[in-house]
């Protein structure tokens, strides 16, 4: 089982000594040399000496940020951020003071979360601020274990697809390459496929669940994080059947890009480059396949606290950061290369998050919800039309049962 014994093998406790890779003077003189090393979460990173230096700076910042959190804990109590959210407080005498302190805490927390949750606190903070803890508290304590026992040995189209993808999920990662890691990931994905048969298994969730396991360190917690993510944090139907929720998000994103980065949007349109060609993977894997691991975690810190609109902020920031270069492109391939190179090298999460939250301008969740509502009918009509076209194809063919 992926329990406490496994702790030493995963997550932030992978502490490969980064320094040894750049300390020798030969590397400092030859800045172009490529080095391979394991990052904070055990992923192999290939980068140059500059990247290594950036990662060292990031580590130092993480340590400093940790000190801020410890100081707050000392000041406000260990679980200060677990206090009830302002919205959940009822009116009444004596509540005003509590309300004020909750408000103060939530402002502090928002700022702090955007600056990054220390890796050691991540499991606890994520579990609480995302609503996963609340979700779990509504069912019997044995829910997860019962579920896993009940589905053991069952074979469905979803379990077959999961089994197919397990060895292809972050291959080369020291923990997922072990039987133990693979089995834990399998249980989380299979368990969820039975919890929500509309989602079942969708490719992309393997990466999301894998990272959740690395951070949460217990599979039951990872399971609940996956559940709250799909059921509450993200827009509905992102991963179901025809990915309609994902289509909606892509349309909203296109509109936002036109509004927030009009020059880029116009240029890409002239190139006939549809932004969803790159952004689909970002939204379905929540950047886990594009950004370095600590940067992904920092995006998720904010995602779990502020909600799905964060994905738009981050996606817009990636375009914004590359504006000048993107405007020079004349080919689709160049656009993709610029974006890929940029995302793979975003080793300093603050570079990205500063743009995402300070330079994109605010977007309220209400505005985004309105935009989604606006796009839904068009998406549904398009998917429906497509389905009918495919069905008319099948008329000539022998009837087939759906494979998923």
């Amino acid at each position: 089982m992926f329990g406490t014994q496994a702790r030493g093998e995963v997550s932030h406790e992978f502490q490969p000594p980064l320094m040894q890779y750049w300390r020798p003077s030969i590397y400092t003189r030859r800045a172009n040399i490529t080095v391979k090393f394991q990052d904070l979460y055990g992923f192999t990173v290939e980068g140059n000496v500059d990247d290594v230096n950036v990662l060292n700076e990031v580590r130092e910042k993480v340590r400093q940020q940790g000190r801020v959190w410890w100081a707050l804990e000392a000041n406000k109590g260990a679980n200060w951020y677990l206090q009830p959210q302002i919205s959940s407080l009822s009116e009444g005498i004596g509540v005003a003071a509590l309300k004020l302190s909750a408000l103060a805490n939530s402002i502090t927390l928002k700022k702090l979360v955007r600056k990054g949750i220390p890796p050691v606190l991540r499991p606890k903070v994520w579990f609480s601020v995302s609503g996963a803890a609340k979700k779990r508290s509504t069912v019997p304590e044995t829910y997860y274990n019962d579920l896993i026992k009940a589905v053991e040995g069952k074979v469905t189209p979803a379990t077959k697809q999961i089994d197919h993808d397990l060895p292809r999920t972050f291959p080369g990662h020291p923990w997922f390459d072990t039987e133990e890691g693979c089995a834990a990931l399998r249980r989380v994905l299979v368990g969820y496929s039975f919890r929500d048969c509309h989602v079942g298994y969708c490719q992309g969730l393997n990466y999301v669940a894998a990272l959740l396991l690395l951070v949460l360190k217990t599979e039951e917690d990872a399971f609940w994080m996956l559940a709250v993510l799909l059921e509450n944090v993200l827009v509905n139907d992102c991963y179901t059947d025809n990915l309609s929720g994902c289509h909606v998000e892509q349309r909203v994103f296109k509109d936002l890009l036109a509004k927030k980065c009009p020059r880029i949007a116009a240029h890409l349109e002239a190139l006939e480059f549809d932004v969803s060609l790159v952004a689909t993977e970002w939204f379905l894997c929540l950047f886990s396949k594009s950004l370095p691991s600590e940067t992904t975690m920092r995006v998720w810190d904010v995602l779990f606290y502020e909600g799905a609109k964060v994905l738009f902020h981050v996606a817009l920031a990636i375009f914004k950061m590359n504006e000048e270069e993107l405007l020079m492109t004349s080919q689709i391939g160049d656009v993709i290369n610029i974006l890929q190179r940029s995302t793979h090298h975003l080793y300093d999460p603050d570079d990205l998050l500063t743009v995402a939250f300070d330079k994109i301008g605010s977007m309220t969740s209400t505005t985004i919800t309105k935009q989604r509502k606006k796009q839904e009918p068009a998406v549904m009509a398009e998917l429906d039309q497509r389905l009918r076209r495919l069905n008319s194809l099948k008329m000539d063919d022998k009837p087939d049962s759906p494979r998923e």
């Binding site: 697809q161 060895p167 292809r168 990915l243 060609l277 396949k289 391939g333 494979r403």
Partner: protein, 224 residues
């Protein structure tokens, strides 16, 4: 990239479609980077690659869209195959399901794609011959009936992978006349060529044989 004098420069969008785990990404990586991984990360949405291939007639720059295979990603596919000059539909010879899925892709492309689309049916993973579930004749016959190129490959051993892209490049070079009129005539010739190609059963032949037979086909076409 330098090109030979007198040869055409073609930029062509190519899309790979097929069931999950049939080896689409592996085929592309083998072609583009000469690499192969036993466990290739699953593709989400799609991945993009470029590769330039020089043949006698032209220099072809491929813009390759390698798509996700899971059924539900189907709804994203039009975005990737729209405007494609060539499509590779892949199945895994060890899975009958994947062959059926490939046939559905072919039908969809025939209805919605470009009528001049160069389409290849690829039977991948021939290194797993012992576990074969889809016989060569089945693939060949289906390709023949639908006017597709058929080729059996192994991304793992690299068997026929370069040949696959080479064939596509040749067809693209042939199908792209300098002026749009005449396109039709060329296409008719091309269609006949494909049938001849399929009937001749050279899908399993080595590269030099393929070239030789192709020269013959071209000569035949010239006579028609």
């Amino acid at each position: 990239m330098a090109t030979m004098r007198g040869s055409k420069n073609i930029q062509a969008k190519l899309v790979l479609l097929g069931d999950m785990g049939t080896g689409k990404t592996s085929l592309v990586l083998r072609f583009v980077k000469g690499q192969f991984y036993d466990f290739q990360e699953s593709t989400i949405g799609a991945a993009f690659f470029t590769q330039i291939l020089s043949i006698n007639e032209a220099t072809v720059k491929f813009d390759i869209w390698d798509t996700a295979g899971q059924e539900r990603y189907h709804s994203l596919a039009p975005m990737y195959y729209r405007g494609a000059a060539a499509a590779i539909v892949v199945y895994d010879i060890t899975s009958m399901d994947s062959f059926e899925r490939a046939r559905k892709w072919v039908e969809e492309l025939q209805r919605q794609g470009n009528p001049n689309l160069v389409m290849v049916l690829v039977a991948n993973k021939v290194d797993l011959e012992a576990n074969r579930r889809v016989e060569t004749e089945n693939g060949e016959l289906y390709a023949h009936e639908n006017g597709l190129l058929y080729i059996e490959t192994s991304a793992k051993t690299a068997q026929n992978v370069n040949e696959l892209f080479y064939e596509i490049a040749k067809r693209l070079a042939k199908a792209r006349p300098t002026q749009t009129p005449g396109m039709k005539l060329q296409n008719e010739t091309r269609e006949r060529g494909i049938r001849a190609f399929c009937c001749s059963g050279i899908c399993l032949a080595g590269n030099s044989d393929v070239l030789h037979i192709h020269r013959m086909i071209r000569q035949l076409a010239a006579f028609q």
